[in-house]
Amino acid sequence: MDTSSLGISYHAILPELITATAAIAIMVGDAVARKISRRTAGLLALAGCAGAAVAVFSLWGETGPAFYGGMIINDPLRLSFAIVFLAVSTLTVLISIRWIEDEGLPAGEYFALLMFATTGMLLMASANDLVMIFLGLEITSISTYVLCGYRRQDIRSNESAVKYFILGSFSTAFLLYGIALIYGACYISGAHPAATTNLQLIRERIADGALFSPRMLMAGAAMMIVGFGFKVATAPFHIWSPDVYQGAPTPVTAFLSTGSKAAAFASFSRVFILTFAAASVMGSPELRELQSAWTGVLAVMAILTMTIGNLVAIVQTNIKRMLAYSSIAHAGYALMGIVARDWQAVAFYMIGYAVINIGAFAVIEAIARRGDIRTSLSDYSGIGFRSLGLASVLSLFLLSLAGIPATAGFVGKLLVFKSAWGAGFHMLVVIAVINSAVSWYYYLRVIVLMFFSEPAAEFNPPSLTKSLGVALVIMAIATFYLGLLPGRALALLENAKNQATMIVAK
């Protein structure tokens, strides 16, 4: 194998390189300059995100072959999700700057870890190899384990980190086991006997029916569903997420509930839609059976996830915990897109969800104050008119989460529901719709408390810093933009879809 066939191209991994460089720069800067200021660290992180975004757009249209011996692929799925991740990171940085100052925590490590996590997520989307997916996942996970425990004086934050670490490692083991099984299942004998973890080869072998054992593939797929299910927090693998989300620092919760989820959905799409589903279309009856088996399992998981998430969210008394359950429910809706094999719908759903969910967490963080003191729902009674701006945007984000038209949340829901209906999952859509109706109750309850109830004892409206204000305005505008004029974003994804079918057809 000569080096040219390895396909080394720095351009192809430019986004990952930039975010990793930003992370290292922040770390080194912090060490050399004896605590760089929080603002500088934040700005470096923002610059990293912006640079990576430029790199992503420069890669647009240059989709095609795999790089690095088939490890990295530059295809529409990667680019679409990369935009989601970079949006998530940018918004998280913006809402973190003020928080980290309030808490008096060191900023260097925080932003460096955030950038490393972003790098890992980007790798998960660009991976074309199961090993690479694993690598990306681990980079993300380990960074976020630390971030969860970042308020190290706080016992809840510690609990969150430990729980996330233990259960996360456990799920990673499942994923790894699944990878191993698939690796074995794709063994071919002959002149060049070899097993493979390369997704391109796996797809070809499934399509050709050249598998060592389809049953082993099925077992491997099942393990991977468990592994990804943990990361996405789908029922019944969701148990960790409320505790972790509640205990983690609020910006980290925002990041986890949107970024890591989206990353896991990217890999989910890569493996299940672009590899298994794409291959099974032309495969043997046995493979089609495999296909319908995992689709059925995922459909049931989607139903369980949204139902449990919504029902349990109703009885929560802590707003962070409530939103944790709400984010479980949203994972259920997004999973419908995977069931319907429409990753574009999932990508759009995730970007809309990222904007509104981070928005909601940003307001919660501003109201919670130092040390997450005011996160109980009762703290929200009567604050509506005392802090009209914050309460209004929080209401907007909550309504959008509930799926009110004219906002991002509705278009995302409409797309996944439409795909699921078109793919024949009618009952799934009906259940999802009923679930949405349930979710209105607890989203509205916050609005009821804020605007219709008598004020609680003392409440000093939090002052807005520039970064948080900018972030909130961006997110509010984006909520309406994606809800009223989603045409541009959808056109990007549509282009991506056409290219994706071309690539698969090759």
Partner: protein, 528 residues
């Protein structure tokens, strides 16, 4: 022909709301700004009936591409036809009056209150003019938010309960409708794909296109029609509200502030009936025919039940609320008689109810502002103290009980004749006679309450010092009373304009041919 008039009428109140959000004048300027904006909207909307040609369908249309990616087929398609024309007018007519009637009664957060009302107006007009399902659903849902806030923030004592109940009922219905919209959209798109091969425009949310195809091609199987009929129907029947989906209404009506009640009763309830005529009848004609007896029976039960419950209410506002249940029963009955007269009567009754119940809420609001109670037993003998008030109250009462020469009579009479002659309803004559008792009952409860409030001796000394109507209050009531007279004397002006649309609905009902085969089989090519 492109016309921006409807867009301007729809968005003007919203622009006004944004204006109020940005500038911070004093309270009086706020009120005047809101009033002038709503009056300007009304003035502009007057161009609609003037320019409307009775013989044609959709007019003042605007139809441009909105979201085309993924062949989503969302269009910005708006227009008015005979079904929606007068409802738009009713909306723009009632909002300024609602503002005038609550001129001084809102003291808390006036600016946000006015913003909510103006935003609500945009949402309501939007529902009536939207000719694209996506757009329709957008307005339908978005309108909920200001109404919710109006009840929840400026409402009475049990406002939180009422507001939440209102939203949960409506949202449950409208989300089922969302599932219905997605299903209708997919079935239609897939059918067109099979018929013409995959073309770009096959998938569409355009109501006019889908309705035309439902009529000409009959792309919905009977079972699909049945499901979709209820998916859409429940949303609308909750909104109407038809017995037994009505329980949110008394709470919402009673707790809402006066302006909220006027708008709620005057316009929001009409959306349900409008939806039935716009969607359920022409799109799912066979299912509509199959379920007509059931719904007509429920409507008659609602008429009598609403009237009986209204009779025993101690609270004036609650009485008016239950009378709405009764009156709206007539509307639904007229719609499902499937006769031209019945449906025309239903449309007319929708306007009448908007005018006379709107007026009733204003009347109740006026004495509530003075005494801060709505209990009937607190009043009595108001005729001597407030003569002008009592006179106007009397006209409104008579309009509500459908005295000939007043508006209510025309609508209910048409509905009863339409139902009596209906060929599609079994036991039409019996249904009609039961419904007619509702008219008698309405006379009983309305005249009785009028007697208890206005006639007799002044039993409560607190009532002695009540002042009669101020100029502003006369201004709020006079247009409503005038409309009640005009609509009672000269109904043909209104009915002529809605006739064409009603006949279109009827022909859709008559011509539809249900797809007998399962929807998965390939339909034969039609020569078109």
């Amino acid at each position: 022909m492109e016309s921006y008039l409807l867009t301007i009428i729809t968005l003007l109140p919203l622009a006004g709301a944004i204006l109020l959000l940005v500038v911070k004048p004093n309270e009086n300027t706020l009120r005047w700004t809101a009033l002038i904006i709503s009056l300007a909207t009304f003035a502009l909307s007057l161009a609609l009936p003037i320019g409307f040609q009775s013989g044609r369908g959709l007019q003042f249309e605007q139809n441009v591409e909105w979201i085309s990616a993924f062949n989503l087929g969302v269009r910005y398609h708006i227009g008015v036809d005979g079904l929606s024309l007068w409802l738009v007018l009713l909306t723009t007519f009632l909002v300024p009056l609602a503002l005038i009637s609550s001129w001084n009664s809102i003291r808390f957060r006036l600016r946000e209150y006015l913003i909510a009302i103006l935003a609500l107006e945009t949402g309501m007009i939007g529902v009536f003019i939207a000719m694209d399902l996506f757009l329709f659903y957008l307005f339908w849902e978005v309108m909920l938010v200001p109404m919710y806030l109006l009840i929840g923030i400026w409402g009475g004592e049990r406002r939180v309960y009422a507001a939440v109940k209102f939203v949960i009922y409506t949202v449950l219905g409208s989300l089922l409708m969302l599932a219905g919209i997605i299903a209708l959209y997919s079935i239609h798109g897939q059918f067109m794909d099979r018929l013409h091969g995959p073309l770009a425009g096959n998938y569409t949310f355009d109501i006019a296109v889908i309705t035309a195809h439902a009529k000409d091609l009959g792309f919905l199987s009977m079972s699909a029609q049945r499901w979709l009929f209820w998916a859409f129907g429940i949303a609308f029947l909750i909104k109407v509200p038809l017995f037994p989906f009505h329980t949110w209404l008394p709470d919402a009506h009673v707790e809402a502030p006066t302006a909220g009640s006027v708008i709620l009763a005057g316009v929001l309830l009409k959306m349900g009936a409008y939806g039935l005529m716009r969607f359920n009848l022409p799109l799912f004609p066979d299912a509509a025919r199959a379920y007509a007896p059931l719904i007509a029976t429920l409507a008659v039960i609602g008429i009598i039940y609403g009237a009986l419950v209204a009779m025993v209410q101690p609270d004036l506002k609650k009485l008016v609320a239950y009378s709405s249940v009764s009156h709206l029963g007539f509307v639904v009955l007229g719609i499902f008689s499937f006769t031209e007269m019945g449906m025309q009567g239903a449309l007319y009754q929708m306007l009448n109810h908007g005018v006379s119940t709107g007026a009733l809420f204003v009347v109740v609001g006026m004495i509530y502002d003075r005494r801060h109670t709505r209990l009937i037993s607190e009043f009595g003998g108001l005729a001597r103290i407030m003569p002008v008030y009592s006179t106007l109250f009397l006209i409104v009462t008579l309009s509500s009980i459908a005295l000939p020469l007043l508006n209510g009579f025309v609508g209910e009479f048409l509905i009863l004749i339409g139902t009596f002659t209906s060929a599609d309803l079994p036991h039409a004559k019996m249904l009609t006679s039961f419904a007619a008792t509702g008219m008698i009952l309405s006379a009983v409860y309305m005249l009785w309450v009028y007697q208890r409030v206005v006639f007799g001796e002044v039993t409560n000394p607190e009532n002695l010092k009540l002042s009669d109507l101020s100029g502003r209050e006369k201004l709020a009531l006079a247009p409503l009373v005038a409309m009640a007279l005009v609509m009672g004397v000269y109904p043909s002006y209104f009915l002529v304009k809605s006739g064409n649309a009603v006949r279109a609905v009827r022909s859709a009902l008559a011509q539809a041919k249900p797809l007998r085969a399962a929807s998965s089989t390939v339909p034969p090519r039609t020569n078109d």
